[in-house]
């Protein structure tokens, strides 16, 4: 029984890793005021790029690099359309999701059922890995997990305590004021969007290089949508995003654990979205109007 719990928790953390990476990226993007609903698409593209390149080269680094590039490029498209052409961000993001899922499906078709020759192996951190239970859970993971944790903390620090971070938040809160202080609003927003997309690509890479290493169609399986919900759930704070990612990762895993016991998996699959709604509801019920920490200019195109 203890073994089952530990293995479930271990899988929880693995499932949470891609959510963590994606959420950190989406927080970065949304903090600059751009809403990118294309996470599912960007993760799919990151996954297929990561899979194809790793399959051909047998080199994980190249695969990860390709995923970053694919996610970033897809986000650049969204950034161009929303930041420079100033189109509706919701429409563009939804389109990007569909485009990404479709394109990944087509590109990945020849690889269905194929297995990668290599995978991201779990690395044990010396000493810390020896701690009973905790060591196995937290210090016996793949490099992207460690990277994701570091990136989440770094993003939190970056947004809060650096000059550039403050400017990114300002652009997302009040682009006009930022512009009047000489901040190039469009450049900031575009770069944050591309950066967030690269994170999503990385999240997609984690799905194929660590979580499951054979290609099936729709391998990302809605994780991108969970990320969109998680970003709200986290109230745009990367640290809260980290907690949420593993919480939602747990729900993702329990679907499979509880299924044999007769719990319908669809019910559990619904939970992350339900939890997001509850957070929105609780926040909305609070009297203080400013409690929802959504960037004030989120989703609004800015032109002088």
């Amino acid at each position: 029984m203890v073994g089952l719990i530990i293995s479930t928790l271990h899988r929880t953390i693995m499932a949470g890793t891609s959510l963590l990476l994606g959420t950190t990226g989406e927080i970065l993007t949304e903090r600059s005021g751009i809403l990118n609903l294309g996470v599912e698409g960007m993760m799919n593209l990151g996954a297929v790029a990561g899979f194809m390149v790793t399959y051909r080269t047998g080199n994980l680094l190249w695969g990860v690099f390709a995923a970053l590039l694919a996610g970033g490029a897809a986000a650049a498209l969204h950034g161009f359309i929303t930041v420079y052409v100033k189109a509706n961000q919701t429409v563009s993001g939804l389109a990007l999701s569909m485009l990404g899922v479709g394109l990944a499906g087509v590109l990945g078709k020849p690889f269905i059922g194929h297995q990668l020759p290599v995978r991201l192996e779990q690395i044990e951190i010396p000493l810390l890995g020896q701690i009973p239970v905790l060591g196995e859970l937290l210090f016996h993971q793949d490099p992207l997990f460690y990277g994701g944790i570091v990136l989440a903390f770094a993003s939190w620090f970056f947004l809060r305590y650096t000059r550039t971070g403050i400017r990114i938040r300002s652009v997302g809160e009040n682009p006009r004021a930022s512009e009047s202080q000489g901040i190039p609003v469009e450049k900031f927003r575009f770069l944050c969007t591309v950066g967030g997309g690269a994170f999503a690509g990385l999240a997609g890479a984690h799905v194929v290089l660590s979580y499951s290493t054979s290609w099936t169609e729709g391998i990302v399986a809605g994780r991108g949508w969970i990320v969109v919900g998680l970003t709200i759930f986290s109230l745009w704070n990367p640290l809260r995003g980290m907690i949420g990612a593993f919480l939602f990762g747990g729900i993702f895993v329990t679907q499979y654990v509880l299924q044999p016991l007769g719990v319908p998996p669809n019910l559990l699959a619904m939970l992350p979205y339900g939890a997001t709604l509850v957070v929105l509801l609780l926040d909305g019920l609070r009297k203080d109007q400013r409690s929802l920490h959504a960037p004030a200019a989120l989703g609004e195109p800015y032109s002088r």
């Binding site: 300002s170 004021a177 009047s180 202080q181």
Partner: protein, 509 residues
């Protein structure tokens, strides 16, 4: 940086033959303007005269279509505000350019090119504290901007500009959001800055404050310089004539009139603010036919909540409101409007119009669903358009056509259209909130005349304003609000500015 501004100062800024066009319309035409260090220059003009455009060019927000800028004789090109900031020019906009959810120091970091990459907050806080000693400009470093009063927010803006090394400070309508006391503080700060060699430019249309504060005044009209004067050798009337291009009436022909039956009857209402606190406490008030009742008070003492309760925009917790005897308490705004209450709202652009709709569509808001503007199913556009043409003519709204979006009109013209729309509905009660706030002399005069005309025609007007002269000039009776109570109701004959001022400060006689 503070240190730098003490050493180097801009001696002169020259703007030569500056022209700027928006969609073919000249906002500035061949403007020459010289600003000297150590001088407070007033830039006077009506709304739409091109004052703000000219200063936005100097601040690098707009690029001029013609002309050039010389700083100490050297030509300067500003591609963005960043270039202007580097050249030592700072600007405090009319609508503050602050991030409301951020702290004061975070707002300063935003534009501070010298803030360190890591932990800029701390460095800026240190600088801020030094600065406070130097200039006596106190601002709480870690308060969030939305928690600050308008006066404090303005101080943050000034500190921000000075910390970026502004030798020349431009202020756009700086007193429009301040209480009289805060204005006085601001003026002493500006005088001190000028005394230290800073150049200061004040954009304003308030004649008194220009005469009081500035050394020199330049008057703009329709995008051109129409006059320039030393403030010592010029009178208010002369300036007003330059600004408007004709003589302006400063006092109105107010005739006593016997008041008629009660139109608005407010009985002991209590209303809560957005924050949930009680903003209006057990208030009684009545307005009769052929009467203007003015409500005076410092902003935030419940005036807004009272008006919103009467017009159906806010829930009344207890008490009753009647219009011509009919109970309208907690009815919807639509029902109340249909019962004969018209409303000129406080924030005219946000609540008075739909900026993206065309003028003729805005002209029938709130009545679009009634005959003759619509039948059972469809809007009657020919009726709507001819109504809009009538309004534009009758209320002298300067608009290129009734087919342009409302947002293209200037503030004064937007307000004229709103007044026309509300008055043309033939209301029993007209509620006017700060109807001339931010308007130029010409438009202000016009709007006040319209309010008096309502009274002469035998209708009731409830006027809320922070402009005491306006209240005194127009009202039959003056009610003063303080902390949610009406602390005194004075008749026109017995009211003096001093007395109202005391009541506004909560001193009961």
């Amino acid at each position: 940086m503070a240190g730098k501004s003490l050493l180097k100062k801009i001696q002169t800024v020259q703007m030569e033959k500056i022209s700027k066009y928006f969609q073919g319309v000249a906002a500035n035409r061949n403007i020459d303007l010289t600003i000297r260090g150590g001088e407070i220059l007033g830039l006077l003009g009506e709304n739409g005269a091109g004052k703000t455009t000219l200063m936005n060019i100097l601040y690098g927000l707009y690029r001029p279509d013609g002309g050039r800028i010389l700083i100490d004789g050297v030509e300067a090109t500003f591609r963005s505000p960043r270039d202007a900031i580097r050249a030592g020019i700072g600007m405090v906009h009319q609508h503050f350019m602050l991030v409301q959810n951020h702290t004061v120091v975070e707002n300063i970091v935003l534009g501070d090119g010298e803030a360190p990459f890591l932990f800029p907050q701390r460095a800026v806080e240190q600088k801020l504290l030094k600065f406070q000693e130097l200039y006596g400009l106190k601002v709480p470093p870690y308060a969030r901007v939305w928690q600050l009063s308008a006066g404090e927010q303005q101080r943050v803006e000034i500190v921000k500009a000075l910390m970026q090394g502004a030798d020349l400070l431009i202020l756009d309508e700086p007193t429009s959001v301040l209480t009289p006391l805060e204005s006085r503080d601001l003026f002493s700060i500006l005088r001190r800055m000028a005394g230290e060699g800073h150049g200061v430019v004040i954009i304003s249309h308030k004649l008194e404050e220009i005469l009081d504060l500035c050394h020199r005044v330049v008057v703009l009209r329709k995008g051109e310089v129409v006059g320039e004067a030393d403030t010592k050798g010029v009178t208010k009337e002369e300036l007003a004539r330059m600004m408007v291009g004709r003589s302006v009436v400063f006092s109105f022909d107010w005739k006593p009139a016997p008041k008629g039956e009660v139109v608005l009857q407010v009985e002991g209402i209590t209303v809560r603010s957005d924050r949930g606190t009680v903003a209006v406490k057990n208030v009684d008030l009545s307005v009769h036919r052929r009467e203007i009742v003015g409500i005076a008070g410092v902003a935030g003492n419940g005036q807004r909540e009272l008006v919103e309760a009467i017009t159906g925009l806010r829930k009344v917790e207890s008490g009753r409101i009647r219009i011509l005897g009919k109970d309208i308490t907690n009815q919807s705004a639509r029902v109340i409007h249909a019962e004969g209450v018209a409303h000129i709202p406080e924030e005219r652009i946000r609540f008075g119009t739909v900026p993206n709709l065309l003028i003729y569509e805005n002209a029938v808001l709130k009545r679009h669903h009634f005959a003759p503007f619509s039948d059972v199913l469809f809007l009657d556009y020919s009726e709507i358009k001819s109504h809009a043409v009538d309004l534009v003519e009758q209320f002298t709204v300067a608009a290129p056509s009734i087919r342009v979006p409302m947002k293209h009109l200037s503030g004064g013209n937007i307000q004229k259209l709103i007044v026309g729309r509300e008055v043309s509905a033939g209301p029993a009660l007209l509620v006017a909130s700060h109807p001339t706030y931010g308007l130029d002399v010409g438009a202000t005069e016009y709007i006040r005349k319209q309010l008096l005309k309502r009274r002469e025609e035998g209708e009731a007007v409830l006027l809320v304003s922070e402009d005491l002269e306006e209240i005194l000039e127009l009202s039959d009776r003056i009610a003063v609000m303080f902390e949610g109570h009406i602390v005194g109701i004075l008749n026109r004959q017995e009211a003096t500015i001093e007395q109202i001022g005391l009541l506004m400060g909560g001193v009961r006689s």
